[in-house]
Symmetry: C2
Amino acid sequence: MARVLTPRAEDFPRWYQDLIAKAQLADNGPVRGTMVIRPVGYAIWERMQADMDARIKEQGVQNAYFPLFIPENYLRREADHVEGFSPELAVVTHAGGKELAEPLVVRPTSETVIGEFMAKWVDSYRDLPLLLNQWANVVRWELRPRTFLRTTEFLWQEGHTAHATEQDAREHARDIHKNVYEAFMTDLLAIPVVPGRKTRGERFAGATNTMTVEAMMGDGKALQMGTSHELGQNFAKAFDITYSSAERTVEHAWTTSWGTSTRMLGGLIMVHGDDNGLRLPPRLAPIQVQIMVVKAGEGVAEAAAQLRDDLKTAGVRVKLDDRADIPFGRRAVDAELQGIPIRVEVGPRDLANGNAVIARRVDGSKSPVALAQVAGAVVAALEADQQRLYDDALAFRVERTVEVKTLGEAIEAAQTGWARVPWSAVGEAGEKEANGKAVTVRCLTREDGSMPESDEEPGLIAYLGRSY
Amino acid sequence: MARVLTPRAEDFPRWYQDLIAKAQLADNGPVRGTMVIRPVGYAIWERMQADMDARIKEQGVQNAYFPLFIPENYLRREADHVEGFSPELAVVTHAGGKELAEPLVVRPTSETVIGEFMAKWVDSYRDLPLLLNQWANVVRWELRPRTFLRTTEFLWQEGHTAHATEQDAREHARDIHKNVYEAFMTDLLAIPVVPGRKTRGERFAGATNTMTVEAMMGDGKALQMGTSHELGQNFAKAFDITYSSAERTVEHAWTTSWGTSTRMLGGLIMVHGDDNGLRLPPRLAPIQVQIMVVKAGEGVAEAAAQLRDDLKTAGVRVKLDDRADIPFGRRAVDAELQGIPIRVEVGPRDLANGNAVIARRVDGSKSPVALAQVAGAVVAALEADQQRLYDDALAFRVERTVEVKTLGEAIEAAQTGWARVPWSAVGEAGEKEANGKAVTVRCLTREDGSMPESDEEPGLIAYLGRSY
């Protein structure tokens, strides 16, 4: 097959941009750093949204919508928060033909405005926990933008919750992290992730604890796929979110926030993509099967339509491509670029033997299957290929992760993948040294992979790597 | 029952704001004219979105996402468009800590930026029609904001399409108008609408034709519930959207746009609300049935749980309210405020007779029903009440619509409802005179209710009314 993309081994960043353009996932917007998400890319995002949204609601969280514009003074109320976000803000100074008395910030995240309304809505301990989520666009000015990974505007969900106790807030943040984020990445995206705790230096602006799920990309770098924050009482104090307890004392609430974004589309591409394009996990794929008329011929159209109906009946998301006037090779290349998990090719030659050909995107294999067996074979292949993508990504991560003892070895190992190194061998001084060499502590975990309660626990493991 | 809201007859606008606050549908945002859509209101919007989205996709339209920020010069390229929107724009002048070289407009609508990308994506007639939609927030600075109806930021869907011929564009705009908008309002929202053509004076900025669906609110005023625009070649020329035809000539495309927004929530309230709160059409309602434990007692919890399971099995969206520690009256008032179509009340007294009580929001009726018959009775009531709401709204509109012959009579009739008057008796001069008295031509239709091809057709009927 002719070369469609710059090969990954030759230039990974170029391959990534090539793939996004040629698979028609996205375009650069007219304003630097913004993006247009094209229908092929947006259909994937919609499926991510629907699945994530159902998982979030299962946790008892309700959706709401808060305004895009935030009065500038709101951001100043929490000291770490304003310091963290100031350089990234876009500011509206004029509206309705006039200069505004107070400039408005375009939300970079909504802790502050939601804090203001939590204060208004929460009165008694009976109003807690208050569990809110919103799907929205946010803006953070990016100096080095890259499609999906770092864009000036991106789409995300942001959860914001208030609790009566630190314990309840902590448990909620962990439930979301494990039952929503980790489960979503694993089950739907087929991406193995390392859940862990961010170091103090890598925490969200205003958080007392940030948890992350980290995934390894196809070039060995790390991508933070989602984060959950314990915010302590910092925002509750800044916005006066108080409640009267059962004992009639007035207490500050404990809040959390957590988010995932269109950045996950970038992770999906860089984990599962190959030199022919994207490979979509079957559970995620908007189109799981494309039935392709190879060329016109007796009985071809009828057989293709019958297969489409069989697959629909079997609950498969199927599309019929009967554009026999466009060369088959070009259509097959496009289907590969867009990562459609299975192509069922129907042409006169195979049909003469009562067969269609099942082509699997995951490994490029092709096999003839009797027409009546196609639906069953496709359903089995979709299930197997979902697992195969996960297994391959996990094997790659294991292969590129090295156990080391010293900071020097860890920085060395991070040039091609990740290092697992005792946190005691790194520490905050070592972290700064690594940062100077473009290597970061991705997260801290316990030896058994479970979530640490603090950075000071003995025996913690640090994952070091380069990152997006 | 104690008075919960300002009665509609006493002060309709006050009733509307009372209802939104007490049913917890929305709050005013911190920036003037913005709103916070609370979970109760947002759940309704989510159901609107899901239903509308499916109807849009059935028309072959694909979702995409375009950037929030539009370079100011884009808006200037289409003369009518910039003139129409200039006074309403919010402008970002600073970002990333610096003043921007070119100010950015926060999208008031996306014709211009989508036009830019259509020009890039369309090459040959084979690329047409290009049918796109996006769900997004938009900003139009409002001097006299009112929750849901006119807010500085609102949520909407905006469809944008490009076609090879005027005929194809026209048919598409009409299909969307009839098969998506009119059908959605009628079937899901139980709102009878008058579809018609806007006069030249009421057209969208840059359109050659604007079609509207107009609904009558509970005070006799009109609300435009959705619009579809034929844009001719105006945007295609401004953004150079051209294609090579089958005959290899280069032609400008014909474009359309169409939109509906969170304003529909305002219409829903004002059409179906009564002095006790909202009344939700059963097909729309996020919660169709609230099972309420009246007070604790032997077998009550078990009976309530059984009814919940029965109703779930019957495909009903059901919520169990077993908060026996909160007075029943207060919970019933809240359920009425929020418009939940049916309450199934389970208490010791009725249970002793083997009954629960079905309370219907649509008319306040209450009847005891044997436990085993509840699910069947509820399903029948939901279907009947959907129709009842539609019928009531239609009867009200008919009652408040007067057939008249002259402009003077029409302006008079518009004080309490709508006037149907020959367009020939109004004309552009009469329209200006009416506007001076806060009466507008809502739309033009043919005598038989069908859509006119132009304002100049003989025999057209004009609907005149006051409006939101």
